[in-house]
């Protein structure tokens, strides 16, 4: 605690104190309290007496006052002794830690803040989301440090983690959950690709603002060359927040959200008032701030999901889209693990983790990326395999085991690396074992694909699509079949339509395979990644590229894409 002096205390002055002391039997002693530290002690004692006298009733007051007087007399005797035995002793005596913990000489700057001022500052702080977010992380760490939550040991084996569940000492709280939990493989959560409508952009400095951006903005921040996988989004941050909240360790999920599926979480978030939503959002940010991170490399396969039409004839609307699970291959995928510990330190027992694929810069530093969340399995049977989503469509076109072609290959910085890493284009391998990648066609006017003013998207430039490897087909069920066009070539689609045209809305980095010189994709193969546009069979039944369709529709040659165009 800071040192206290006689100054600054209401209704306190040394003259008053001297008068008080003068009432005692040692009036001359009042003039000997020259040492600052002694003054501090007596002032503190006087203040203590004053506070007690205000609070207690007369009987208790007298009792407490008596105690304080005894204490004062003891201090006085000590002072007298020191004064008599060593004139310098009183002055040289070091202040107690209570009086001056900092060891500094009491100065006006070290004065304790006026209680009224402190209260005012506290009131301001309660209205400041930034400091509240900071305190939220601190409080959460304190909760962990106090061992409130049960911990599970994570046994690290290289990059793989097996979770060994321990008995919780929280009274069986999980039994109250009606939903999934990580200990039950049958109901554990997975991730969504494409259900979320807004990519989450994490600031490169953890602890900053966890803002939600649209896909284009996210891609711009992530720098497409570095992005390994981006959740396609359009305009609604709620669903993305739902994804992340649902994938938090249960102990960290906001009140009322524990054990909910992503869909349920989304619905609950949608039902909140703006103030309630902000509260949940701020809480989530605080949780993320309280997490530690470590860079990891993924291995193995992941359950994943994409969107498809429920009724093929009902158009591409949000209500007519359903989620379909699939498997993606993640060997070599770089990711960042957020983890929380039971003691609030980086080396404590991990009570939960969340893995997010985050882009890196050329130095290997996190580059402020935002990517999907993945959850490791809890039984350790297969590295990072996690489980079916509870609200997916029953028709699961999951793919068989594939050769060791990673789903995502870190984008090499030069083509040599790309050659060495050939075969890295696979997103989802079809049952036929073939893969394909197709590209979207250049933007007719070469403008930025996303127009925030009108909330519309243009087609993605071919070069961009080629780099990223967009999937063109609309429906993974139509693997090996011609897919119907999604939009009229040249049409500017709205964000809503873009959402509904997504099947597996991930951008895949890698080489372009299965694409012939005319940019026609090979029938019979598909990559289950984000698709942007479809193509229209020409009159003779052959498949036009979108560029060709565009040219046919407009009668003009398609413009070259801008080099600055990015995103979807």
């Amino acid at each position: 605690m800071s040192n206290k002096t006689g100054e600054g205390f209401p209704n306190t002055s040394f003259s008053e104190f001297d008068n008080y002391r003068a009432d005692d039997n040692n009036p001359e002693e009042s003039g000997k309290s020259s040492s600052e530290s002694e003054k501090g002690k007596y002032a503190k004692l006087f203040e203590e007496i004053k506070v007690l006298s205000e609070k207690l009733n007369s009987a208790e007051r007298e009792k407490e006052l008596a105690k304080s007087l005894e204490k004062e007399e003891a201090l006085q005797e000590e002072y007298i002794y020191l004064s008599e035995t060593s004139p310098e002793g009183a002055q040289a005596e070091e202040p107690s830690p209570e009086d001056n913990p900092s060891g500094e000489e009491p100065t006006p700057d070290n004065q304790e803040a006026d209680p009224n001022d402190a209260e005012g500052t506290a009131g301001k702080a309660k209205k400041c989301s930034r400091i509240k977010r900071f305190f939220a992380g601190v409080a959460l760490a304190a909760v962990f440090a106090l061992g409130i939550f049960g911990a599970r040991k994570i046994v690290q084996e290289g990059n793989a983690a097996q979770v060994e569940a321990e008995d919780d000492d929280d009274g069986g709280e999980d039994d109250d959950d009606g939903g999934e939990n990580e200990d039950n493989p049958e109901t554990a959560r997975g991730i969504y690709d494409g259900y979320g409508e807004r990519a989450m952009y994490l600031d490169s400095n953890k602890g900053g603002d966890y803002d939600f951006a649209n896909a284009v903005e996210a891609a711009e921040v992530c720098n497409n060359d570095e992005v390994e996988m981006v959740k396609y989004t359009a305009g609604n941050q709620v669903e993305s927040l739902a994804d992340y909240i649902a994938n938090l360790p249960e102990q960290l999920q906001p009140e009322g959200f524990r054990g909910l599926s992503i869909l349920e979480t989304d619905q609950k978030l949608e039902s909140l008032s703006p103030e309630e939503y902000d509260s949940v959002f701020n809480y989530f940010c605080g949780v993320m701030d309280g997490a530690f991170t470590q860079e990891i490399e993924l291995e193995g396969d992941y359950h994943n999901a994409y969107m498809r039409q429920i009724d093929e004839n009902a158009g591409y609307t949000h209500d007519n889209m359903e989620l379909v699970s699939c498997i993606t291959h993640e060997n070599g995928t770089r990711a960042t693990e957020f983890y929380w510990t039971d003691d609030g330190t980086a080396n404590g027992n991990i009570i939960g983790s969340m893995i997010v694929k985050i882009s890196h810069d050329e130095n290997g530093n996190i580059d402020g990326g935002c990517l999907q969340v993945v959850i490791p399995n809890s039984d350790g049977s297969r590295t990072y395999i996690y489980f079916d989503l509870p609200d997916i469509a029953p028709d699961n076109p999951s793919t068989p085991d594939t050769p060791d072609n990673p789903n995502i290959t870190p984008r090499p910085k030069n083509q040599t690396e790309a050659d060495e890493n050939s075969g890295a284009s696979a997103g989802i391998v079809t049952p036929e074992g073939q893969e394909r990648q197709v590209t979207a066609e250049p933007v007719a006017d070469g403008t930025h694909p996303y127009n925030p003013d009108t909330n519309t998207y243009n087609y993605i430039p071919e070069e961009q699509a080629g780099q990223i490897g967009y999937e063109v087909t609309n429906d993974i069920r139509e693997i090996g079949q011609e897919s119907a066009p999604i939009t009229t070539p040249g049409e500017i689609v709205t964000a809503e339509e873009m959402v509904t045209t997504q099947t597996a809305p991930e951008m895949v980095i890698g080489t372009r395979e299965g694409v012939d010189e005319a940019n026609n994709f090979d029938a019979g193969a598909t990559v289950g990644t984000g698709e942007v546009t479809g193509d229209t069979p020409s009159a003779d039944g052959s498949r036009n590229t979108i560029r060709e369709n565009l040219e046919q529709a407009t009668g003009n040659p398609a413009a070259n894409p801008s080099n600055d165009s990015q995103g979807f």
């Binding site: 803040a113 500052t121 702080a125 305190f135 701020n282 809480y283």
Partner: protein, 108 residues
């Protein structure tokens, strides 16, 4: 945003819920339980708030006020670090004390 609380109410709620599990309150019905729970949450927040802002010197209080008033991007972690205020310890101790009082000597 709830301006009544300094600490995120959800975190406080979780802490209180864990304490309640360890020492169930003698209440007659859910309404009373919820009321006591809310009061406990508020009391915990007040305790932590008092501990944090009561630890500030006058100068620190003034500096903090300036940050709150004028700096939207203030780094509060840095503020407390530079001023040698172990905010983590303060919050943890406050919560521990609260838990001790609540549980009446039981281990948290």
């Amino acid at each position: 945003m709830d301006n009544e609380y300094l600490i995120d109410r959800q975190t406080l709620g979780k802490f209180i819920d864990e304490l309640i599990k360890k020492k169930p309150l003698a209440v007659e019905d859910t309404e009373e339980l919820n009321k006591l729970r809310e009061e406990s949450i508020k009391a915990l927040d007040d305790k932590i708030t008092k501990a944090i802002f009561g630890s500030l010197t006058k100068e620190q209080d003034e500096k903090l006020n300036q940050l709150l008033d004028h700096d939207e991007d203030a780094d509060y972690q840095e503020f407390f670090s530079e001023n040698n205020i172990n905010i983590q310890e303060i919050v943890k101790n406050s919560m521990q004390e609260f838990a001790d009082e609540f549980l009446g000597g039981q281990d948290v």
